[in-house]
Structure formats: structure tokens, C-alpha cells
């Protein structure tokens, strides 16, 4: 059955939207509904009630009175309610308004001369001819209506036109007095067919008076099934509840009208009927209170079923739940290759790959099936079983311990068996939010004990994953084509270079970087024992010759160990991350061991840190992925990270608040610097008050003061940091992390050891709170440093109460900013993806949409794949020249080029963090900010 369906593709040529006429509603109706009751005392549906069995069946065993089908055979049938008085359909009020305004109040003709109408028709035809789509034709009709609405007097009968306004949601007024739906309907009826065509309506399928309902379609019971609770009580669907309301009021309205009740009462009931019909369609219509359930919960009516993230479109049509997938918590495993993913046994037993039985594998498959659904290997380890055997006729047979032998015997060519996961199966692994293509990559399975998915830490950056409780999804591919495609296009190693900026997104993080630093910085050396330990982590069996012999003992340098995993012909030069900033000489670089020189696969000098192996910045990773291919890059990342972890484990690594200890002497110095700065600001304030402050060009006196104060205080914070930094050497753990790029920055450290500095909101010193002051602890109008949010203390020394409050003020801005940014960027991303989703690069290099029209004549104007570009450029001429000519440029030249090329990216720039709960987004309107 499935195979015959495959490959049949059809293109939708056109879609026509039309209105249901009252006639059509009655024609398609299986029964008229007149009573608001649902079930009788015996629990059977009442005839001509809302649950009439002509409308379909929801209870097993019963038969549909319309088609005779049982529960799954009968699709359900519509019914209808005849409304006592016409009511306006909320979904069409805008169109009704347009039509009322564009046509004569008396004769119903379009308020345009014949001549004008012809012109607009001609224009419409022309747009259609030039391949204009529905929206483009829509612009013309909109323009037509706008033109017609301008006219004050009917060109056909000469009638003066009253002003028609819409009192939201459904009341129309002409020159202030109400038009009943009945009057509205009469007016719409008067519009002649040919005038409707000019307005873009096809009168054969959509007469405007059908927008005012005289009959209401009742959806089949299958659309609004009632549920039976354990207590035996029936609970009806929200739609049924709403229809009950409509029926009740409809009945009362009819009775009152027929009995000749006062006009006022009839009108009230009519309005009530309008309310119920309106909320039946859309219970979030602005201007009227939403209809509520007895519990106070607003009812979920038709529009609510379709709209928004939980609506039919986004949740059931654009997105679907799938089989052969799993979700669980993730945890790290540095032993796994970056290409792998650890899958828990329990998940592996549920997830299956279909295997087609052929002559070459028939016997093998039989042995699999024979083992049953939970086989174990010779050592009690996991072995793949079979969950289902599928016969050629499509019947599925569940394999159990008991029937395994019998089922196995029956397996023949043409059968398919669903085999459980084995090591090496290829699966897709994904973490939401899926913001870029690296959010879903193909991994090779490793079945493992315990209950989490595990993967290499180097793959955290592309997924933006951490292990504080994150969960991820896994999908098992079900066809050979899909597996081949995933292996070639989606495997992790193919995504080391990002298309975002043409550099690596996969690489060492945190301890990998610290470890590489400890391994290679300066003259680090390791004993035979330590070297064996480090090398045992990677696949190197033979010890290299020792570099140093001292006092009869052999030592190996870390640089030599690291060189062992580099390709033998790799040569490159770059600055380490620990290099001092700014333009510095060769001597200083060498002193800090921060000029990495690799010659023929040997690290001659320099420290391996973030700039060498880090994600986003790793130059070696970048070069290997580019010049030696993804296989070599994957191998390098696997080995470098394992080695780094070996190195860090030998030395041991920790950090604590005592890493920020500085001598009393330094503390005093810092205090002096801060005090001087504060006094300087005071002096500034004094001169401002005396009016002696020299105004900066383009700034007011107040602004000048603020700018100057900020400058002084900023400098003071930096100075404090520098003083503190002098006492924090490179042997300090926190400094190692900050300088090598593993975690944290020198600014973080100076805020811990020195001073936190000026707090700001919107880039200005704090100023709001009380009248003319930030807190009641200060004098009104105090413009000094401490009164306006300068925090003298360090994180280590602790903050004074006022400082603490200021710090919270500054910190809050950051939180609000990220909250606002995430919702906004999420919405922007959604809109962007909706606009771009059908674009594709064709064989000839053009970018086209599904209609085959050209969007771009060459992809990106240059046809270059950014992930294969060198920092955005198609070719790295210098690199090629060097390789071809074999000339080594001077180190300074080389560095200059690199600095020009590098964008100075950090991990922070890569992501805007998106919170788990995406903000609810309306289809056309941006989310409101409240």
C-alpha cells in the first residue's frame, strides 16, 4: 500500500475560496437542528438535537443514520440551524464594510462611473496576464473600492451617500443610527453581479449577502466529540456548549418575535444571538467579553482551534509528532568521538531501523529475529533484537520472547524486519531552538548503559547545549537514501566550519583549552609516567623520544606531545590567546610564549590555547578542516580534547575566591586610586555648580559633567583592575582561564579583586528613584560618584547596601534587555524563515523559489558557499602563494593578515539566547510588549 503511494506527486494548479450560501448550507445538511438538548434520559442522542446521530458517530457500536458507517468509517456529516433573524458573520465584517461603503445606499450600484469601472477591470486583467498572483490582484480591487468610497453621490441614481461606520465588532451605523443585520443584508442583496466582479468577487460562488447568516452550519459530532468521565457524566466540547447557547437564544427570539413582543425585547434578543454567533466563530473578538465556561475558563471556539502556536496550522500541519524518535536529558562524555552519540539501552530497544530481507541477508535476519526483542550478547552486553516483522502484505507481527522462533522461520525474501539500534547506525540529533543548520546534525550511535543521551563536549557550541538539565531529541532514519544523505551532508564533522562566518564552530571549550594551555605553556615537561597516561587517552602506542634528560631522568615537553597529533606537513604561525593586547614586539611575544610557530607538524614555540583549538577561534581546527578535510579535523578535535583532559588531570585544576587574593599593599593602592577618582568627580561637580565647567561641543553642561564623570570613574575601575592584575600572575588558575580563553575575562577578575565600577542604566549613571536623588541615603541633588551608582567595592570584599541596590538596578537592565531581545529576535526569525523557506540554489547557481522565478542571479552574488570561504572570501591568496612558492612570510606580515581577516568573534556574539518558552506570536501582528 505504501509503496504504491510513493512517487506520486501532483501540483495544485489553483485554489478557489467561496462563501457558503444558505441554500448550500441546507443542501449539505444531514438534519435541521431545533432543540438545544443533547441526550435523553437513557443516554441516547435526541433527534434534531446537537448530538443527532445523523451527524455521525462517536460511540463504538453505534451506526451513523446518514451513511450507515461505524466509528472509523463515517467521517461525520454537517447539520444546520435556521436562524430566526439574520446575524453578521464576524469573519467578514471588514468586507461587508467595504462593500457597504463602495456601493450606493439606495440602488446598490458600485459608486463608480461605467468608464472608471472598465479601467479597473482592464488593470486587473493586465496584472493577471503578467503573472500577478492573488495578492497582487487584491491590490487592484482594494484600490477600486477606495476610489468608490470617496464618492459622495451615486453616479447612477444621484442619491446622496450617508456615512457608514463600523461600531466594532459587528454593529454598522449610517450617519449615526443603527443598521440591523437585516438591513445590511438587504443592501448587499441589491449589489448587481457585474459590479461585484470589479470589486474582485465572483458572484457565482460568493454573493455578498451570504456574509450575513440566515442559516448556521453545525459541524459533525466527530469535530466536537463529547467525552465520558469516569463518574459516568458526559462532558461536552466547547463548540457544543456554544451551539447550545445559540439554539436557546434562537428559540427565545423566534417565540418572542412570533408572539409580537415589544420591539425592545426582540432587539435585545437579536443582539444576544449576534453575540453568541460571533463568539461561536471567534471567542477573542475585541470589543466583546469572551464567552466563558462555568469554571471561568474562556471557551475554545472555531478561530481558537486554528490560530496561534497551539492552533491547527502551527501545531498539527506545519509541525507534526513523529515515530522513531526519542527525547531525554543530555550529559557529557569526553571519550566519545564528536561524530557519536551515546544512546541509552532502553531507548535503543524501542528505536528501530527497517531492514529489507534479501537473499544475501536472509539467514542473518532470521538469527536476529530468533533472538527475540531483548537479546543479550555473550558477555551480557546489549545486542540488537527485532521488534516487528512486516510481511509483504503490510501486516505487522510483534516479535515476543514466545513467538520469536516461529516468526523467524516464516521470514522470507520480501519481508521487512524492524531491527533495534546498533553501534554505528546513523541518527539525527537535535536541540531546540533550531536556529541554524548545526542545530540538527547526524551522529553515529553508541548504545550505552544509563538513561541519558551523551555526546562529546566539543559539540556543545553548535547546539548551544549545556548539561544543567537540557534535553535533546533523536530521530532514527528510516530509508537508505536518508541515511546516505545524512552521512554525507549532516554528519557532525561536515559542520566544523560554520556558514555564518567561515570559521570553526566545533572545537575545544573550557577545560580543553585550560588543558592545552597546561600541556604546552612554556617549558612544561612531563615524566614517563605522566606521558604514558596522557598518550593512553589517544591512539599512540609508542613513546616518542624524550626531549630533556636531567639528572638521569627523562622528560617529555608538552609541545612535543601535542605535535604528535598534528599532520606532518602542517606549518603555520599565529598569536596565542594569552598574547598581551596591542601592538607589541617579537621579544615580548616570545617572552610570554605566545607566538605559535608550527613547522612541519612540530610546535616550535607558542602556547596552544583558545586561538589554536577553541571553538569559534581555533586556527589549527580551521586550517585542518579547510586543507586536510573533515576526517582529519574530526580526528584532531577528538585527540586534542582528550589529550588536553589528560594534561589537566595530571596537574589538577581548581579555582576559588582566594585566587583573587591580593596583598594589603595593593588593596590600599586601589583604595587610593578610587578615592582620588571620587574626589576628582567631586571637583568636577563643584566647578559645574560654580558654572566654571567647560562645555563640550554639542553637549549641554549637564551632559558634559556626566560624560566627564563616567570617563574618570571608568578609568579608575581600569586602574584598580590593573593594580589587582599585577598581583595575579599567569600561575593563578583564574588568570589561566581568563587569558587562555577557557572561561571568564580579565575584566571579571578585576571586578572580583579590584572594583566593580560604575553601574549604568541606558548608558547613563543612575539617577532615578526618589525626588532628585537615587536613594534617601544621599542629599537631594548630589551629583557625586557614590550617589549616582559608583560601586567602589569588589565582589570579593562585598558591597555596601547602597552599592548592592545600585548593582541590582544595573543588573536588572541586562535581564530586561535579554528578555525583550529574545522574543523579538524569535519573532523576526520566524517571519524570515517563513519568507525564505521555499528558496533553493539551483544547478545553474541561481536562487529560485518553488515557482521557479529568480530571486538571486547568483547565490550571494558571488556563488561562494560561506562555510567553504576563508573568512568570507572565496580564496585565501596568501595561503596559496605560500604553499606554491614555499616562501615563509615574516611572522609580522602573517599576523597582520590574520588580524585583518579575523572578526574578533566571541562565543557571546554567536547566540542570542532563546528562552525555552517562545513568546506567543500572532500570525500578522507582532507580539505586544506589556
Amino acid at each position: 500500500m505504501m509503496s504504491s503511494m510513493r512517487g506520486v506527486t501532483k501540483r495544485i494548479a489553483s485554489i478557489k475560496f467561496a462563501l457558503l450560501s444558505p441554500d448550500e448550507i441546507r443542501r449539505m445538511s444531514a438534519t435541521k437542528i431545533i432543540t438545544a438538548d443533547t441526550y435523553d434520559d437513557d443516554g441516547f442522542p435526541i433527534d434534531m438535537g446537537l448530538m443527532d446521530s445523523h451527524l455521525g458517530v462517536i460511540e463504538p457500536g453505534l451506526r451513523c443514520k446518514t451513511c450507515g458507517g461505524k466509528v472509523d468509517d463515517c467521517p461525520g456529516h454537517f447539520g444546520h440551524i435556521d436562524l430566526a433573524m439574520p446575524v453578521i458573520h464576524v469573519g467578514y465584517v471588514k468586507d461587508i464594510k467595504k462593500l457597504l461603503q463602495a456601493t450606493c445606499r439606495k440602488c446598490g450600484r458600485l459608486l463608480l462611473t461605467r468608464q472608471q469601472a472598465m479601467e479597473y477591470i482592464a488593470e486587473m486583467e493586465q496584472v493577471e496576464e503578467l503573472g500577478g498572483d492573488v495578492t497582487e490582484v487584491g491590490y487592484v480591487t482594494k484600490e477600486t473600492a477606495r476610489e468608490a468610497q470617496k464618492r459622495q453621490r451615486c453616479p447612477h441614481c444621484g442619491e446622496e451617500q450617508g456615512k457608514i461606520t463600523l461600531d466594532k465588532p459587528t454593529t454598522f451605523r449610517e450617519d449615526g443610527h443603527k443598521l440591523t443585520p437585516k438591513e445590511v443584508r438587504e443592501r448587499l442583496e441589491r449589489i448587481p453581479n457585474e459590479d461585484l466582479r470589479v470589486l474582485g468577487m465572483n458572484p457565482e460562488v460568493a454573493r455578498p449577502e451570504w456574509m450575513v447568516l440566515t442559516a448556521l452550519l453545525v459541524p459533525p459530532v466527530t469535530v466536537r466529540p463529547s467525552i465520558t468521565l469516569e463518574s459516568g457524566d458526559r462532558s461536552e466540547d466547547d463548540l457544543t456548549h456554544k451551539l447550545v447557547d445559540v439554539l436557546r437564544i434562537n428559540q427565545r427570539l423566534r417565540e418572542n418575535r412570533d408572539a409580537g413582543a415589544p420591539q425592545l425585547i426582540v432587539e435585545d434578543l437579536w443582539e444576544l444571538l449576534q453575540y453568541h454567533v460571533t463568539t461561536y466563530f471567534d471567542n477573542q473578538t475585541s470589543g466583546i467579553p469572551p464567552a466563558r465556561h462555568r469554571s471561568g475558563r474562556p471557551l475554545k471556539t472555531l478561530v481558537q482551534r486554528l490560530k496561534g502556536k497551539e492552533g491547527r496550522f502551527r501545531s498539527n500541519l506545519s509541525g507534526k509528532r513523529v515515530n522513531f524518535s526519542a527525547r531525554t536529558v543530555i550529559s557529557p562524555d569526553p571519550i566519545l568521538s564528536i561524530n557519536e552519540v551515546g544512546v541509552p539501552v532502553e531507548a535503543a530497544r524501542e528505536l528501530t531501523v527497517p531492514v529489507h530481507v534479501q537473499s544475501y541477508n536472509q539467514e542473518l535476519v532470521k538469527t536476529w529475529v530468533k533472538r527475540g526483542p531483548t537479546p543479550l550478547g555473550a558477555f551480557g552486553e546489549y545486542a540488537p533484537g527485532v521488534n516487528y516483522v512486516i510481511r509483504p502484505d503490510g501486516r505487522r507481527i510483534r516479535v515476543t520472547e514466545k513467538n520469536a522462533e516461529v516468526v523467524a522461520e516464516a521470514v522470507e525474501i520480501g519481508y521487512t524486519v524492524e531491527r533495534q539500534l546498533v553501534d554505528g547506525d546513523i541518527v539525527l540529533f537535535n536541540r531546540q531552538p533550531s536556529l541554524h543548520r548545526m542545530s540538527m546534525m547526524a551522529h553515529e550511535v553508541r548504545v550505552m548503559p544509563h538513561k541519558t543521551f551523551r555526546f562529546n563536549l566539543a559539540v556543545c557550541p553548535p547546539y548551544n547545549a549545556d548539561f544543567d538539565g537540557d534535553e535533546m531529541n533523536l530521530h532514527v532514519l528510516q530509508s537508505e537514501e536518508a541515511r546516505a544523505e545524512a552521512r554525507v551532508l549532516m554528519r557532525v564533522q561536515e559542520h566544523i566550519l560554520s556558514p555564518r562566518f567561515g570559521g570553526p564552530v566545533i572545537g575545544g571549550i573550557h577545560d580543553h583549552i585550560t588543558g592545552s594551555f597546561l600541556l604546552t605553556h612554556k617549558e612544561s615537561k612531563f615524566t614517563r609516567e605522566e606521558v604514558t597516561y596522557i598518550l593512553s587517552k589517544i591512539d599512540i602506542r609508542d613513546l616518542p623520544p624524550p626531549d630533556v634528560k636531567k639528572g638521569g631522568k627523562e622528560f617529555w615537553s608538552g609541545k612535543a606531545l601535542f605535535s604528535a597529533i598534528l599532520p606532518k606537513d602542517l606549518s603555520m604561525t599565529f598569536k596565542s590567546s594569552i598574547a598581551p593586547k596591542g601592538d607589541i614586539g617579537l621579544k615580548e611575544l616570545k617572552e610570554e610564549d605566545s607566538l605559535v610557530v608550527i613547522k612541519d607538524g612540530v610546535v616550535a614555540s607558542g602556547t596552544i590555547d583558545e586561538n589554536a583549538v577553541g571553538a569559534f577561534k581555533g586556527k589549527i581546527v580551521d586550517k585542518l578542516a579547510r586543507d586536510y578535510g573533515p576526517d582529519a579535523a574530526r580526528e584532531f578535535i577528538d585527540k586534542a580534547t582528550k589529550m588536553a583532559i589528560g594534561a589537566i588531570m595530571i596537574r589538577g585544576f581548581t579555582t576559588g575566591i582566594d585566587d583573587e587574593d591580593i596583598p594589603e599593599e595593593a588593596k590600599k593602592q586601589i583604595a587610593d586610586v578610587l578615592k582620588a577618582a571620587i574626589e576628582k568627580v567631586e571637583g568636577l561637580v563643584e566647578s559645574y555648580k560654580r558654572g566654571e565647567l567647560e562645555q563640550m561641543p554639542g553637549r549641554s553642561l549637564e551632559e558634559t559633567l556626566e560624560v566627564e564623570a563616567m570617563k574618570i570613574l571608568g578609568r579608575a575601575r581600569d586602574q584598580a583592575g590593573q593594580i589587582a592584575g599585577k598581583h595575579l600572575g599567569i600561575e593563578n588558575s583564574a588568570v589561566i582561564m581568563a587569558r587562555s580563553g577557557a572561561r571568564g575575562s580579565m575584566l571579571n577578575l578585576s571586578q572580583m579583586a579590584g572594583s566593580i565600577g560604575q553601574q549604568a542604566v541606558r548608558g547613563e549613571r543612575l539617577s532615578r528613584g526618589y525626588w532628585n536623588r537615587t536613594l534617601p541615603h544621599f542629599k537631594k541633588g548630589d551629583l557625586g560618584a557614590e550617589a549616582k551608582g559608583f560601586v567602589k567595592s569588589s565582589y570579593k570584599s562585598g558591597l555596601h547596601p547602597t552599592e548592592y541596590f545600585f548593582h541590582a538596578m544595573g543588573g536588572r537592565e541586562g535581564l530586561v534587555d535579554t528578555a525583550v531581545r529574545t522574543s523579538r529576535s524569535g519573532y523576526m526569525q520566524r517571519r524570515l524563515i517563513n519568507a525564505l523557506e521555499d528558496l533553493k540554489v539551483k544547478e545553474d547557481g541561481t536562487v529560485r523559489n518553488t515557482a521557479d522565478t529568480i530571486i538571486q542571479f547568483k547565490f550571494g552574488e558571488d556563488g561562494v558557499d560561506p562555510s567553504r570561504s576563508v573568512q568570507g572570501r572565496a580564496v585565501d591568496i596568501d595561503d596559496i602563494l605560500q604553499e606554491v612558492l614555499g616562501e615563509e612570510p615574516s611572522w609580522k606580515e602573517r599576523l597582520r593578515e590574520q588580524e585583518m581577516a579575523s572578526y574578533g568573534l566571541t562565543e557571546k556574539d554567536m547566540y542570542v539566547e532563546i528562552s525555552e518558552e517562545e513568546v506567543e506570536v500572532e500570525e500578522e501582528e507582532p507580539p505586544s510588549e506589556e
Binding site: 493586465q126 522565478t853 558571488d862 568570507g872
Partner: protein, 83 residues
């Protein structure tokens, strides 16, 4: 017309393509006219071109030569449509 938009630094060079050349270009790209990106006759650029070239009918093709950050110079074509 207040000023010539083509002289603005942010507006790329637009040129009307001769009919025979247009045919050649379309043939080379193996596309029909309606697959091209569109430009309205009311577009200020077309208004300026009409001053230079005389009236431009719908269905004519305009070449846009852009200075591109990635490719140096890139060429694109647009189909003139009504309004």
C-alpha cells in the same frame, strides 16, 4: 522629478537592455520573462530611464549592475511591469 535617483550613491546602475540582447540573455539563462524579478513602471528608476530612453513598455528588461561586497561587481536583470 525632484532629482535623478540614479545619481544617488546607494542606487546601483540601471540600464535598459536592447530587445535583441534581452532575448540573448534570456536564452543564455534558459528562462522566460516572467521568471525575472520585477520592477514597476512607476519606480523612480524607471521614471529616470524613461527621460533618457523615451517611453519604456512593459515587458522590457533592465540590467542592474551592483557593486557587491562579496563579488566585486554583480549583474541582475529586472522585468518592467505596469503601474
Amino acid at each position: 522629478m525632484r532629482f535623478n535617483v540614479l545619481e544617488h550613491q546607494l542606487v546601483p546602475e540601471h540600464r535598459l537592455v536592447a530587445e535583441e540582447e534581452a532575448e540573448r540573455v534570456l536564452k543564455a539563462m534558459k528562462i522566460t520573462r516572467d521568471q525575472l524579478p520585477k520592477i514597476r513602471k512607476s519606480d523612480p528608476v524607471i521614471q529616470v530611464l524613461e527621460k533618457i530612453e523615451g517611453p519604456i513598455e512593459e515587458g522590457r528588461i533592465v540590467r542592474v549592475t551592483r557593486v557587491s561586497g562579496t563579488a566585486g561587481v554583480s549583474e541582475a536583470y529586472r522585468l518592467v511591469i505596469g503601474r
